[in-house]
């Protein structure tokens, strides 16, 4: 009976994770062709092994892709760090508010999701473009003579990313902070810790698992983000998401695109495994008299 209960999640993983990854892996070792689909299966009964490692080689050899990866990780890191910095005080505020306000406040955090993703980005474009509200306001106040180049910059891209991903950071943090044991903080205060020291030495370290979850929940999707950099970011900046899009839809080089997607998957899984390891090790080890 119990064995059958485990079936649905396994089927789910098989259909939506394992199968697509396997298909990507097959495409990534295929030869490109002009047909539909634009690749030749790497293994056929008639001709045997027809595959190639050329896409993978190109990925490693061309510094263009390495640059895209590093830039994507940097953008994702900056987004996640900014989200964390904004989300922590928000989550603390939710946890510190009276019980009857906690649910409405959490719902407010989710409110942006009630409007479409693209209208939200459109709103940012409207705000930040040369004739947009921000520039009109600055000029109207006599602070700037001409329009500032706000749109299509790294800053505009980060603003859009943080706006889109902030709820993912607030909710896990709020959950952890709401569930925390207040007696432990009272004990710290009782032992002579001022409110700031209580926060630094007890509240903050005990909320780190929530902070890590918040960081990863933002970092992972942000690393592959395509739409926001495309609409708000500088045109010359090539991110992995954009490179993927270009290879798939403009160049129709499916093998290279598949190789890129697999590489991104690997790059994102490795730090998660590392974090998991670190956390397990930290749990087992006690800190000594120091």
């Amino acid at each position: 009976m119990r064995r059958w209960l485990l079936l649905p999640p396994f089927l789910w993983l098989l259909l939506l994770v394992a199968a697509p990854v396997a298909i990507l892996a097959v495409i990534a070792v295929s030869e490109g062709s002009a047909g539909v689909p634009p690749f030749r299966p790497p293994l056929s009964l008639a001709e045997g092994w027809q595959g190639t490692l050329e896409p993978l080689r190109l990925l490693l050899a061309d510094v263009f892709y390495l640059d895209a990866f590093l830039r994507s990780l940097l953008v994702a890191f900056a987004t996640a760090a900014l989200c964390l910095a904004l989300a922590y005080p928000m989550a603390l505020g939710i946890a510190a508010s009276p019980a009857r306000w906690q649910m409405p406040l959490a719902a407010l955090v989710l409110l942006p999701f009630w409007t479409g993703f693209l209208p939200r980005l459109g709103a940012w474009i409207g705000l930040l473009r040369d004739g947009g509200w921000v520039n009109r306001l600055l000029q109207g106040a006599g602070l700037t003579a001409g329009p500032l180049p706000l749109l299509y910059t790294d800053a505009a891209m980060l603003v859009g990313m943080v706006h889109a991903y902030l709820p993912f950071a607030v909710l896990p943090l709020a959950t952890v902070l709401l569930r925390r044991d207040r007696a432990v903080e009272e004990a710290a205060a009782d032992l002579g810790a001022t409110p700031w020291v209580v926060f630094r030495s007890v509240t903050l370290p005990l909320s780190l698992p929530g902070a890590l979850a918040a960081f990863l929940l933002v970092f992972i999707p942000a690393a592959g983000e395509f739409v926001i950099p495309e609409l708000l970011g500088p045109p010359e900046a090539m991110l992995v998401g954009r490179a993927l899009w270009v290879e798939f839809f403009q160049n129709r080089d499916w093998p290279l695109a598949a190789a890129l997607a697999l590489a991104l998957l690997l790059v994102l899984i490795l730090p998660i495994c590392l974090f998991q390891r670190l956390e397990d090790a930290g749990e087992a080890r006690g800190s000594g008299p120091s």
Partner: protein, 353 residues
């Protein structure tokens, strides 16, 4: 008399419409082990939290060694508290837990290491410095919580149900260790408990709280022998309550169907009087007839073996039941049998209300 260690004056605390503490005043003497005893809702935990500074009193003053600390935040108060849940820092080692308070005081590292080692050795936890609280047993955690507070050498230690989370077997031994620690450190202890056995066994004095007021504050012996109110008598050792009207000759005509002759006059004739009579103060007479005063003929309704004796429930001619403790040596009466009961005049403890 020396200045009290802690003086609470007219402490009042309201939660919405309920009055948790109603103008409560009491004093704790230096080096004293005081128990705050009461049922749930008696206000004992709220009182402790007001002394620690986690709750603010709506009215009243908290004075520690003569200094008014009513307005001080918890971290500025020299008192320390042991929490019922222990509230150890789960992310810190045993050493760092105990060192936490000393670090806040800015004590030098070498001194911290020395005092923490000393404190841990005192409660038999030497060698566990590097463990996390999650890797300790309940008893060990309790002792870490205790020395985490004691290592700061507070003049007054507050304990919120310190034994409640322990196994029954561990509770008595830990309680005695707690008292030995209190004697050794000379600190004043104020322990909140709902367990009367714990309070009587460990404390120098017991404050019984009832509905936010102090019902009685006395030594365990006096409290047990001379309960001041019906509530105290019932709460401690489940005493029998005897009520009646004072007669012209000074005796009290008890509603249960007997005449009481208390050691001291109960009051002017015609007034109502109430007494507490402990189950173990009632004797079973070998003769079938009870004395005319301080005695009654009752019927054994029920009998329960207690190991160290029997507890009999005796039905009275005037209605109602008494609990009678019978020593193990004698053969118990059969259920349904009529028994003659008697008690000494001194065993009748007059009750105020």
């Amino acid at each position: 008399m020396a200045e009290p260690l802690l003086r609470l004056a007219g402490i009042t605390r309201r939660f919405g419409a309920t009055l948790a503490l109603d103008g409560l005043s009491l004093e704790v003497r230096p080096g004293e082990f005081l128990a705050l005893l009461g049922g749930s809702g008696s206000g004992k935990s709220t009182l402790l939290r007001i002394v620690a500074g986690f709750e603010a009193a709506d009215a009243g003053q908290v004075l520690l060694q003569g200094r008014d600390i009513t307005a001080l935040p918890p971290h500025a108060r020299p008192v320390s508290m042991v929490f019922q849940s222990y509230a150890l820092f789960p992310h810190l080692s045993v050493f760092d837990n105990v060192a936490y308070g000393l670090r806040r005081e800015g004590v030098a590292r070498a001194e911290i290491a020395r005092r923490v080692a000393e404190a841990l050795a005192l409660v038999g936890l030497a060698g566990l410095e590097r463990r996390r609280p999650g890797q300790l047993s309940g008893g060990q955690r309790q002792r870490v919580a205790l020395v985490r507070s004691l290592v700061k050498r507070p003049p007054l230690l507050l304990l919120d149900e310190p034994l409640a989370a322990l196994d029954a077997g561990l509770r008595e031994r830990t309680g005695l260790e707690l008292r030995a620690l209190q004697r050794a450190t000379g600190a004043g202890f104020v322990m909140v408990t709902h367990d009367q056995g714990e309070a009587l066994a460990l404390a120098d004095r017991v404050a019984v709280l009832e509905a936010g007021r102090l019902a009685q504050l006395d030594t365990p012996q006096a409290l047990y022998e001379r309960p001041a109110t019906r509530h105290v008598a019932a709460f401690l050792g489940a005493a029998n309550i005897l009520e009646g009207r004072v007669e012209p000759d000074g005796r009290v005509a008890c509603a249960a169907g007997c005449h009481l002759r208390p050691a001291a006059p109960a009051g002017p004739p015609g007034t109502l009087a109430a007494f507490a009579l402990r189950p173990e103060r009632i004797r079973l007479l070998a003769t079938g007839a009870p004395p005319a005063e301080n005695g009654i003929l009752a019927r054994v309704k029920d009998l329960a073996y207690r190991g160290d004796g029997w507890m009999a429930v005796a039905a009275l001619p005037g209605g109602g039941e008494w609990r009678v403790a019978l020593p193990a040596g004698a053969a118990p009466p059969a259920p349904g049998a009529a028994v003659a009961l008697a008690w000494a005049a001194e065993s009748l403890a007059p009750l105020a209300a």
